[in-house]
């Protein structure tokens, strides 16, 4: 399955072959993980009538969008859109666009070095929660992060998901439905903006992947999560600096700006991972405004 997807990508964008082969050489496990992901997604793809060509084309479309957005970013120093409501209307609220975008992003977890490193870091954190009984995920997207928690922690059954996108929730539900019969029964889904999510509950573990760069006021989101987190709970976040995309609105110019926001919201950084998209010198990264992914485990 992997080769079928990759061949379509290579045929249309030969430069990807060089990049992906180098990555598979650097991370031999990446190729195996890609195959496993595709075979896990197979039933979901059948359910949603998604073909191999569809997933490859979704990825190619995303690359084209990233290319366009990065070009604009280099010219202007700004992200292409500056208002989260535009992203909501054009993407999150559009079933077809959102599904394709999520498929492409899911594939990028196994084809982009920085996404793959962040995902592995996350996996190491959610292995066998010992002190967590209830969990909140904000923005379930392609469902991969949620799935990892479920796979690693069979006994967990109090999981809430809050997502602003109905399409994203539907997609996550269908993915879980095709994976294991009892997964869905362990999760409650809430279609809310996290700042409007009202509950008395306090969570032991909160995970929020790639949300901060999608909103105009990321500090308000972090402050909301501060209230929702137990006094000894942990928050896992990922975001990125200099990472133009069709739905990114808040620009972090460097990782220090992310750290500063985290501290402003009252959190302490327990551990973190900084993953540039390419192996280059500090000087090169800064000069070319290379995108850098960031993940951190935070406490109060």
């Amino acid at each position: 399955m992997k080769d079928e997807v990759l061949n379509i990508i290579y045929q249309k964008l030969p430069m990807q072959e060089k990049k992906i082969n180098l990555l598979f050489k650097e991370f031999p496990q990446m190729e195996l993980d890609l195959e496993e992901f595709l075979s896990n997604y197979k039933k979901f793809m059948e359910l949603e009538n998604i073909s191999i060509e569809d997933i490859a084309n979704a990825y190619l479309d995303m690359l084209e969008q990233v290319f366009f957005c990065r070009k604009e970013f280099i010219y202007t120093g700004k992200y292409y859109i500056e208002n989260q409501n535009i992203a909501f209307e054009n993407i999150y609220n559009n079933e077809k666009v959102m599904t394709n975008y999520m498929l492409a992003l899911a594939l990028s977890q196994f084809l982009w070095k920085h996404h793959y490193q962040i995902f592995n870091y996350y996996k190491s954190i959610v292995q066998n929660f010992t002190n967590s009984s209830n969990i909140l995920e904000v923005g379930s997207g392609h469902g991969l992060f949620l799935l990892e928690i479920l796979k690693q922690n069979e006994n967990l059954n109090d999981i809430d998901v809050v997502d602003i996108s109905k399409s994203s929730i539907r997609m996550t539900q269908n993915i879980l439905k095709t994976m294991k019969s009892d997964y869905l029964s362990k999760i409650s889904f809430y279609n809310y903006d996290i700042n409007l999510y009202n509950t008395d509950k306090k969570y032991d573990f909160i995970t929020m992947g790639e949300v901060l760069e999608h909103v105009n006021d990321p500090l308000s989101i972090l402050k909301s999560l501060f209230i929702l987190l137990n006094h000894d709970g942990e928050l896992f976040i990922t975001t990125c600096a200099n990472c133009p995309a069709i739905d990114h609105v808040y620009l972090f110019n460097n990782i220090e700006e992310v750290r500063s926001l985290i501290k402003q919201a009252g959190f302490r950084i327990k551990s973190e991972l900084i993953a540039p998209s390419t192996n280059k010198s500090e000087k090169y990264l800064e000069k070319n405004k290379v995108d850098i992914s960031y993940a951190a485990l935070l406490t109060k």
Binding site: K12, L13, P14, M15, Q16, K18, K19, L63, E64, F67, F68, R70, K71, I74, Y75, S277, T278, K280, S281, K283, Y284, N288, V290, D291
Partner: protein, 77 residues
């Protein structure tokens, strides 16, 4: 020749390789640093230098230096 020399300067600057020498057949597979991210930076630097814009379709045709020289010459005619 003139375009090739200018491209060489741009490539040296963007890819950070001071002694890089380009010939017509040089392609991304010959230069490790010429990856998809660098490609975008190269395209922008070329657009700026020649005050031109590449269409999305054209960008995929920019596979080697000869392609680049041909497209640039046509645009600056």
């Amino acid at each position: 020749m003139e375009i090739k020399n200018t491209l060489q300067e741009i490539f040296r600057d963007i890819l950070d390789i001071d002694d890089l020498v380009l010939d017509n057949k040089t392609s991304a597979s010959d230069i490790e640093e010429w990856d998809s991210l660098a490609h975008i930076n190269l395209v922008v630097a070329i657009e700026r230098e020649y005050q031109i814009k590449f269409g999305l379709g054209e960008l995929q045709d920019l596979k080697n230096i000869e392609d680049m020289i041909n497209i640039i010459s046509n645009k600056i005619k």
